[in-house]
């Protein structure tokens, strides 16, 4: 039996050596196609769309460029992974969410897209100006917008027709009225259908600051000469107005409390438990798929806090960042891939398959796009809303944005559970975010 023991030991050694050898990425020699890695956070329907786009690119560039795309989970998880890799460049091109922008710009790991725009003499105006504005600082376009979205109001059109509602609400005053008419109560007093419901999503908070024409953080919303050093939403009163809306819909039972993120809100909307909800344009396709024949889906602009607010939405979603690997062949290949992904036809396909609107102006001219709009006019609303906003309402840039968003959501949750009131919530948010921001700035700059 000593032999068995020895065999086991040898086997173990062999196995571990095999892994030691096999798990390192073999360095690509000069022969063969240039291999680049693309990290993204698109799952489900959107992930499949990316997979097919990547496959088409690889087919078109067979033998020259080969792109491997890896799904990294949610935006948060992917972002954490990238940060944790500590500048070891695990990939060539990475899709990062909007709120990761400041961090990426500061990280030193990024090769600004502007470099290749200059090199290739590429016309930046091919991109929708309101979208490009978000990712541009001081005339430099840092990342290539890809999956941009804005928030929308989704409503149950069938329910609207039944209740005789003809005007789509555009501000919360109108939403309160409409919700009242749509509310259905069971004989035993429990609510069968709420008129309105929204997930506890920090993104909405940020959007509503822009809708009120106010800044989220100081120093020109983080886009000024210096990076942001404190939040502004507690100083300019915008934050309180937003939290008061949340307070009202929850306290008065206009909306049920739906969990952080948007999945529960979507499920509730699809099941017919809520008649109106707020969601990203990116959910349009999957909502259409899941709702099927249950009811007709209506889409409207993201509502104002107050009827007379002057402001606009900012883009959300993500953009594609080139990493500063220093390997020119791979960087060139990455640029080719970028150009492909935002070409008019691909953006039209992307729009059709997901609901994200095309970032390329020319996409609207393609047949693909036109046919889709004809069949699903809902897709047009997002684009109109995008055209109706302005660059000055572009969202904030904040190094610790992900943490800030989580903090906001945490306080809304506390608000929903009555452990804090509206004013306390805003104060808490401001206090916690400022503290984290101070420490970050101290250590990292």
């Amino acid at each position: 039996m000593k032999k068995t023991l020895a065999l086991i030991l040898v086997g173990l050694l062999a196995v571990s050596l095999a892994f030691a050898a096999g798990s390192k990425e073999t360095v690509a020699k000069d022969a063969g196609p240039v291999k680049i890695t693309f990290w993204h956070a698109m799952g489900g329907v959107n992930g499949e769309a990316i997979a097919s786009m990547v496959a088409e690119f690889n087919a078109l560039n067979a033998g020259k460029i080969e792109v491997t795309s890896e799904f990294q989970g949610s935006y948060d998880e992917e972002f954490a992974k990238l940060q944790a890799s500590g500048g070891n460049y695990p990939c060539d091109i990475v899709q990062i969410y909007d709120i990761g922008s400041r961090y990426m710009i500061d990280s030193g790991w990024v090769l600004p897209v502007q470099e290749y725009v200059k090199k290739d003499n590429w016309n930046v105006n091919q991109i929708e100006p309101n979208i490009a504005a978000y990712y541009t600082i001081d005339g430099t376009l840092y990342s290539m917008p890809f999956n941009s979205s804005t928030p929308l109001l989704y409503y149950n059109k069938t329910a609207f027709d039944e209740a005789g509602i003809t005007k789509v609400p555009t501000s919360f005053e109108e939403i309160y009225e409409v919700a009242e008419k749509l509310r259905v109560v069971n004989p035993d007093g429990s609510v069968k259908r709420y008129g309105f419901g929204m997930g506890n999503y920090g993104w909405f908070f940020e959007q509503w600051m822009g809708k009120q024409g106010l800044h989220y953080v100081n120093n020109n919303n983080g886009r000024g000469e210096q990076y942001a050093t404190a939040v502004a939403f507690d100083q300019n009163g915008g934050g309180l107005e937003i939290v008061k809306v949340w307070d009202k819909v929850l306290k008065e039972g206009i909306s049920p409390y739906l969990n952080i993120g948007n999945d529960d809100a979507k499920a509730a909307f699809i099941s017919g438990n809520i008649a109106m909800t707020l969601e990203s344009t990116a959910a349009l396709k999957s909502l259409l798929l899941n709702i099927g024949d249950r009811f007709e889906l209506g889409v409207g602009y993201f509502p104002n806090i107050h009827k007379n607010d002057v402001g606009g939405v900012s883009v959300g979603g993500g953009s594609l960042w080139m990493l500063n690997t220093g390997d020119t062949r791979r960087e060139d290949a990455t640029w080719e891939f970028l150009k492909f992904m935002i070409s008019p036809e691909q953006q039209a396909i992307w729009n059709v398959k997901t609901g994200y609107f095309p970032i390329t102006v020319a996409a609207a001219e393609t047949e693909t796009f036109k046919q889709n709009i004809a069949q699903y006019p809902q897709f047009q609303v997002a684009i109109d809303q995008l055209h109706d906003t302005a660059p000055q309402y572009a969202g904030a840039l904040l190094s610790i944005f992900p943490e800030a968003r989580t903090t906001v959501e945490g306080y809304i949750a506390r608000l929903a559970n009555r452990t804090v009131d509206a004013k306390g919530a805003v104060e808490g948010m401001a206090r916690d975010i400022n503290k984290a921001l101070e420490e970050y700035n101290l250590v990292n700059y």
Binding site: A80, A267, A268, T406
Partner: protein, 302 residues
């Protein structure tokens, strides 16, 4: 097969010079792994906890004993104390709950009957279910609009989003998960209760419950003691349930210490602060274990 020589002459040679290393060599593989992946990181964590780290985990500013000390910041944070309280409630409930369920299921299958093998297999089954898988299952069971529990109750309670139910939900799930190992170990303990004790109890005319209380439980007290320690250590490490169901919320309602360590380290990129949290966690576990062993001397009969 005995050899024909004086073994006393041979043995000193075996125990002598060359072989004194032998016991240590046997220990070497295990100690190597422990050294690299347990002892070293443990001390490194203590080291890190004394610094403010930058976003890639490098210790940047030495802050121990200053006003920016990581530990000081934690002690001044309401959220931290909330986290400690939640952790204690969670661990206590899970340890005790798991034990009770294990005891119940063990007692129920103590005597053999038709189908008792099947029942025993069912009770032990949760050890084969990964905590992540069970968490996803319970995510569906507890779903606010389409979940099993709400369907059965006819309600639309947001279990994981309501401070009243969030912690209970996570506790329930964790007890479900640990019921298997509790069942296995406690059943083993039950099997070793000497029959004579039961016989003398029967002679004394003791009823079922009386017997359980006065004979069974004291006899398996070493098992129960061991099991509670296992439950407690396991409860302190529960992570996937929190991540997949509540993400520490709502507010701080399910913000157990493991979760806040993860958030600080891997979402907020404050490795130094996270390290401080883990050191505090370790000290807590250590103290609890010491207290338990003291208690063992008094409460457990061998």
């Amino acid at each position: 097969m005995a050899k024909n020589f004086d073994t006393r002459a041979v043995r000193p040679a075996i125990k002598g010079h060359h072989f004194w290393l032998e016991p240590y060599l046997f220990l070497l593989p295990a100690l190597l792994v422990f050294g690299m992946f347990l002892y070293y990181p443990f001390f490194r964590t203590i080291f890190l906890s004394m610094f403010l780290t930058n976003k890639t985990g490098h210790a940047k500013i030495f802050v121990a004993f200053t006003d920016k000390d990581n530990y000081l910041t934690l002690f001044q944070s309401k959220s931290f104390w909330a986290s400690v309280a939640v952790t204690f409630r969670f661990v206590f409930a899970v340890a005790l709950g798991g034990l009770l369920i294990g005891l119940t299921s063990s007692l129920l299958t103590e005597k053999k009957y038709r189908g008792s093998n099947f029942t025993a297999a069912v009770y032990a089954m949760p050890i084969a279910i990964a905590s992540a898988a069970a968490s996803m299952t319970f995510k569906m069971v507890l779903h606010p609009t389409n979940g099993l529990l709400n369907n059965l109750l006819g309600t639309q309670i947001n279990f994981t989003g309501d401070v009243r139910y969030a912690l209970a939900s996570v506790i329930g799930l964790t007890i479900w998960l640990t019921s298997g190992i509790n069942f296995i170990f406690i059943s083993a303990g039950l099997r070793n209760v000497p029959a004579e004790l039961y016989d003398s109890a029967a002679v004394d005319g003791a009823g079922y419950w009386r017997r359980v209380w006065s004979v069974t439980i004291p006899s398996i007290s070493p098992t129960l003691f061991f099991q509670i320690i296992i439950n407690i250590i396991g409860a302190f490490q529960s992570f996937s349930q929190i991540k997949l169901l509540t993400e520490g919320g709502p507010g701080d309602a399910t913000n157990v210490m493991v979760w806040s360590i993860y958030m600080d380290a891997f979402r907020n990129f404050r490795f130094g602060a996270a390290a401080a949290r883990s050191v505090i966690l370790f000290l807590i576990v250590l103290v609890i274990t010491i207290i338990q062993f003291r208690f063992e001397k008094r409460g457990v009969n061998y």
